[in-house]
Symmetry: C2
Subunit: 296 residues, 2 copies
Amino acid sequence: MELSDIQTFAAVARTGGITRAAEELNTVQSNVTQRIKALEAEIGTPLFERHSRGMALTSAGKRLLPYAQRMAALSHEAVLAARDDGEPKGPLSIGSMETTAAVRLPPLLADFHRRFPAVRLSLRTSPTADLVAGVLDGTLDGAFVAGPIAHADLTVTSAFREELVLVSARRWASLAELRAGTPESGPTALVFRTGCTYRQRLEQIFVEFGWPSAARFELGTLDGMIGCVAADMGVTLLPRAVVERSAMNGSVTMHPLSPSHGRVETLFIQRTAGHQTSALAGFLACLTSDDEIIAA
Amino acid sequence: MELSDIQTFAAVARTGGITRAAEELNTVQSNVTQRIKALEAEIGTPLFERHSRGMALTSAGKRLLPYAQRMAALSHEAVLAARDDGEPKGPLSIGSMETTAAVRLPPLLADFHRRFPAVRLSLRTSPTADLVAGVLDGTLDGAFVAGPIAHADLTVTSAFREELVLVSARRWASLAELRAGTPESGPTALVFRTGCTYRQRLEQIFVEFGWPSAARFELGTLDGMIGCVAADMGVTLLPRAVVERSAMNGSVTMHPLSPSHGRVETLFIQRTAGHQTSALAGFLACLTSDDEIIAA
DNA sequence: CATTCTCGAAAAATGAATTATTATGAACGC
DNA sequence: GCGTTCATAATAATTCATTTTTCGAGAATG
């Protein structure tokens, strides 16, 4: 049994078909067929049920699958561990929420790059839910997400504390005015796509304000969102620091919220299991030392 | 990177030489050389330092080795897990101390074989220390050893309680007579080879009896030991049940000991991590249900 | 209701690539 | 020197990937 067989098996299990797996593995269908058959012969039991529209795992296949995934992950980690001589270098994939990326990360990343220029850092911005999934499946080495998070396979480090404020166009000087000046159903909510924690929180706030039926408007970018707020298309929920940094700062009003709604912690998550690369260790070192600078 | 490369690497690391590894892997030296070179090329760093007397791991190699071992263990377990449909069958390697094998296991093994005839059970008798090592390295699925044992990677089940007695020839009716009738330095101690827990305990008892310089005589078999005791070659320490079952029962005297010396628990140990085969689960089921029968 | 079509997997033959083997040479310590 | 031990090169063997063809089960069509 070789690792390539295991990966072939995993691909077939995931895609549910030999042809699709072959495509994913950049090879031909017959090749995948052969290797699955060889694997079944070696183990001595069928791993898939052949079914006219694809392949479905048998119970033996289901038992094998978690091992296959662990072995694939291990082999990947093994190479990293062997290459990693303690000097941070090589690739490092970090994920972040859009808002954190906008205001908190620039100084941090600058500091990191100054201290560890040999690391090729890549940053991906996504909603919290995607980031958690990315860290768990190994796509990301770590990510900045909105707390709280509790997962046995994730190690959590407190990174930043944000104050969320409700943001409206400048003409609404206070929450009271805003509530008075909007229709019964509430203002339009400007939100990121699903998976964003701030969005969920905004939904809650709307419910408490008695605006359950307010319209939703989805945007993909932070600047777009603030721009729309400035144009009085609706309101949104953002960290105070994000709004203050924005170029449209003067065109909007920030409405403070109660601590239970407004306080939110940005956490840095990483996988608990396995090897921590030196690059990631260096990143964490930057994060905590910068925190001290910020705290000081 | 394939599993065969990993196993080649592990073999070279363990044997400390390409030639020896090749022998172990049933292949030729040049082949091992090539694959190690390929692996080093793939990882991008040397894994071994070439010496005139063999190969020594570099730091990168040392980092890789634990991954290699885990991957090898995982692949082995994966096959077992896939084959194991919940019906106990296939091979099962159990280890046991000599004494336990003699009196406790026969009924247990008979019961096990009656209930799970598809399991091909093999029994290995060794001293406790070897058994622990065997279970830890995967050679044995489980083993009966003398307690106490504490190891994070071992799961311990209480199996039997034994009363250890000092065994002498029949002419010594009591401990007092024995002590009076033997020279200042004490009687000869008949012991199993090193690694046996009972032997350590006998050493302790001799010290407390003031026989520190008593002679030692090593034997390999239980019957041999009891025979020698009957012939008054010396004394030994054995579970009461073992002596009672022996054919030489009438020719020896059993001298009870204080609970602190005489009480000993036989434990069943198995690896904590990973997949527990159905065969092993069935064995444990027999063990615990038989215990109830014994207790009743 | 039969037919035809489509999709996915299995099978067989051929060619490519990888891996194992043999034979030989170089480095090192005894 | 002599015996080890590893590296290298050429060759043999095996494994693996590809193309092509075949088969079977549903779905669509007449």
